[in-house]
């Protein structure tokens, strides 16, 4: 276990450094430069030169990278070029929102998908199961921005029940959560169904059945633990993916999350912001990955870390 943790931490650090190098140089390779983008069609060479100088863009690439890395490690993340605000404040404000959104969305998806998938596995030939199966396909096929707009139209415009956007109150997270949860619940319930159906076919279930274990115990205790493994793994991946921001949903609901910050950062070539956001995302994903690995060990005792 100790060795495993050491190995993981080593990989962790190497990944972070590699990611920092990659993002730094990829943003450099992109055409268009931050000073030009700020000035638009009103730029003159003098103003342009001074902005570049202020941004430190005139220094050699390697020097800039090392300078950035050093100050980043010391906790000095610099100022955003686009917002003239400290990057740390921007990041600190955006992440809680995106984290709670990711957590809520996957949570709701799991809450819906687990019983639905179990039901579809238990009674595969019933009308309800067939209906659910079709519904999941629809849920998978709907484009997210459209679902979001539809939800706003119904719940905010027509019914006037929920706010149409903004991230200021917990209630305003309901619609975005739903938008994100629908396609994820669809995927998860399919994994759940397949996993459960598979588990129910196993020898140990037949043995248990032969021993006279009650149907309910058999289903919930014996099969569920094995059958849900795949769905939980996928849910973990979904969570990690949501950590990186939910650009479409944030755009539609006007949420000041990580996705918006990153998207605007990339469009404006706001290097300090892009760098910091990517680093934090990668850090969180690695952290989550570690926690998830350990968590799976609890769910499936066969998994051991040597």
């Amino acid at each position: 276990m100790k060795r495993y943790l050491l190995q993981k931490t080593g990989g962790f650090l190497i990944t972070l450094v590699l990611v920092s190098i990659l993002t730094f140089f990829i943003v450099q390779v992109l055409p268009g430069d931050p000073a030009l983008l700020m000035l638009g069609t009103e730029g003159t060479p003098e103003v342009y030169a001074r902005l570049r100088n202020e941004m430190g863009l005139e220094r050699p690439l390697l020097e800039r990278y090392l300078r950035w890395l050093l100050s980043f490690l010391q906790g000095q993340w610099g100022n955003s070029w686009r917002y003239s605000m400290p990057v740390r404040g921007l990041v600190a404000r955006a992440f809680p929102l995106s984290l709670s959104l990711a957590f809520l969305a996957v949570g709701v998806a799991l809450l819906v998908a687990t019983p639905a998938g179990m039901f579809m596995a238990a009674k595969p030939r019933s009308f309800a199961a067939r209906f659910m199966s079709v519904t999941t396909l629809v849920g998978l096929g709907l484009p997210q921005f459209w679902v979001g707009l539809l939800l706003i139209q119904v719940f905010a415009v027509s019914l006037g029940l929920l706010p149409a956007g903004g991230g200021s109150s917990p209630v305003s997270l309901l619609l975005p959560t739903l938008t994100l949860a629908i396609p994820r619940a669809a995927i998860l319930s399919r994994f759940m169904r397949v996993g459960m159906a598979d588990a129910l076919k196993q020898d140990y279930i037949r043995t248990a059945k032969a021993k006279g274990v009650a149907e309910g115990t058999l289903f919930f205790k014996h099969a569920l633990r094995n059958g849900s493994l795949a769905a939980f793994t996928v849910a973990g991946l979904q969570f990690a993916q949501l950590l990186a921001g939910t650009i479409v949903v944030e755009q539609v609901f006007g949420l000041p999350g990580v996705g918006q910050l990153l998207l605007n950062g990339v469009f404006q070539r706001d290097l300090p912001v892009v760098q910091a956001v990517v680093m934090v995302i990668v850090f969180l994903i690695l952290l989550f990955d570690l926690a998830f690995d350990l968590g799976l060990g609890v769910l499936d005792p066969r998994i051991r870390y040597e």
Partner: protein, 492 residues
């Protein structure tokens, strides 16, 4: 039964108290697509800043909806006989932090704005030779007479703020009718009414929230749901979603933006006027207006929008009307029957992309081979605007208060002249325009517009519509020729 009735009466009363009771703050929610960049007047470059900052900062003078300037922190001003010394007389006014506006503040703000080591737009104030206080006001001395000078003082970079202010970028301190309370990037800005404004007038709305909503569809839905009261600049593509809504009011006016198919005048064969003429004659602008702007814009023939009423030349419609036959003949004359060109379109502007796609079809009908190249904005700025490495492109050029600021772009060697346009008479007129006043100045700019219409740095298309959508009941919306939202004039 009685109990039940009593209960509903109590509920109703509480509801009335909570929702519509007197003394409740009047709040206006305005949707904008983008954040400001910085509130330091000499550092900001984003149009989104000016839109909000107009309510926070004021200069010695400020713009009017008619495109003129009127006194703001200066009650009035005088100009000496040679037109080189302007004397501004200050009024008694207070900054948002409660301190009075002093001569010292005015001088230091203006000096900072023209200091090339600090100010991004210092070049725009380079006509100033010296700024110094006199007993009753501030005297600004110019190197030579300059007709555009007074208008530059209404720009955001010439705003007045306290000499002692720190961190203007995030905590602006101005004299305007509203002060910035909070700014959360990607979410919004909260403005509070400033009760000590020199005008003595107290705006109706106590609080104005500028909400950042990047997606135009959800902007509209937020307006319909009542979360937003005003969209000052609605994308024309979503107009049909609001047009017939009885609860909304739509106001349409010229944007003071010049949409133009820029032609690289330095690159053969486009250096041949006959080829540029052929492109102009082969362009059906009416069709573009309907196809790209739902028929809502105003057709243009030169580089000024009709919203610049006092300088606009309205007699240029017949210079190059749509005539594909004549266009083909001209191409033949120029030996360019097999003309090939690359049309570069900026992907982030749907209006320009659509216009480009339409014109490509029109030009193809002349026998020209048009290759469309859609590029991201950063690439466009680098390749088309900066390196001027293109054949033909399309862009919208933002208007200003003064024609000089718009027209100087087309002079030989100007750094913003990505048309590579060059015309001696035109250069002369633009120089002359600064030295003349009144009707003489107007004549100069009329002729300058005529030259652009005839010599074609590009094919001018339209001033797109500026559409403001608001909840019924919001009144007093004023449209300005510059990119601002005047919150103080709004009421309910």
């Amino acid at each position: 039964m009685y109990k039940r009735m009593l209960f509903s009466v109590v509920v109703a009363m509480i509801t009335i108290l909570l929702v519509g009771g007197p003394g409740l703050a009047q709040v206006l929610n305005i949707a904008i697509p983008q954040d400001p960049d910085s509130f330091d007047p000499v550092k900001t470059v984003a149009a989104a800043t000016g839109e909000v900052a107009f309510n926070i900062y004021e200069g010695l003078v400020k713009a009017t909806p008619q495109g003129e300037v009127e006194g703001a922190l200066a009650t009035h001003w005088t100009i000496n006989d040679t037109g080189t010394v302007y004397t501004f007389y200050l009024r008694e006014a207070f900054f948002h932090d409660g301190t009075p506006v002093t001569l010292d503040d005015v001088v230091s703000a203006l000096n900072r704005a023209r200091d090339p080591k600090i100010a991004v737009r210092a070049g725009e104030l380079s006509m100033i030779k010296d700024v110094h206080p006199i007993e009753t006001g501030v005297q600004i001395e110019l190197h030579e007479p300059n007709g555009a000078f007074i208008y530059t003082l209404a720009e955001v970079y010439a705003s007045i703020y306290p000499a002692h202010a720190l961190d203007l970028a995030r905590r602006p301190v101005g004299t305007g009718p509203y002060q910035l309370q909070e700014w959360v990037p990607n979410q919004g800005l909260e403005l509070r009414r400033f009760d000590q404004h020199w005008s003595g007038k107290i705006p109706y709305f106590e609080q104005a929230n500028f909400m950042i909503i990047p997606d135009e569809n959800s902007m509209v839905l937020n307006l319909k749901a009542g979360r937003v009261n005003l969209i000052p600049r609605l994308e024309v593509a979503v107009l049909h979603q609001v047009e017939n809504d009885p609860n909304l009011v739509i106001l349409s006016s010229p944007m003071n933006l010049v949409q133009v198919f820029s032609i690289n005048n330095a690159r053969p064969p486009f250096d041949d006027l006959r080829v540029r003429k052929a492109l102009a004659l082969g362009t059906n602008r009416e069709e573009i207006l309907h196809g790209a702007a739902w028929g809502r814009g105003t057709l243009l023939d030169s580089a000024l929008s009709p919203s610049m009423a006092s300088f606009y030349n309205d007699s240029l419609h017949e210079v190059y009307p749509y005539d594909p036959q004549r266009a083909k003949e001209l191409l033949e004359e120029a030996g360019q029957e097999d003309l090939q060109l690359v049309l570069t379109l900026p992907a982030n502007y749907p209006l320009h992309v659509q216009a480009g796609e339409l014109v490509a079809e029109q030009w193809k009908a002349l026998g020209i081979q048009v290759d469309l190249q859609i590029v991201e904005w950063g690439t466009w700025l680098e390749r088309v605007y900066t390196q001027r490495d293109y054949d033909v492109s399309v862009i919208g050029l933002a208007g200003r208060l003064d024609p000089h600021a718009i027209l100087v772009r087309y002079t030989t060697g100007n750094s913003r002249n990505f048309f590579n346009f060059s015309n001696t008479r035109y250069d002369e007129l633009i120089r002359l325009g600064l030295k003349t006043v009144g009707s003489e100045r107007r004549e100069v700019y009329l002729e300058a517009q005529e030259i652009l219409a005839q010599e074609l740095p590009g094919v001018f298309i339209m001033d797109p519509p500026q559409i403001a959508a608001m909840t019924r009941g919001v009144q007093g919306f004023k449209n300005y020729p510059t990119y601002v939202v005047d919150v103080a004039s709004l009421y309910k």
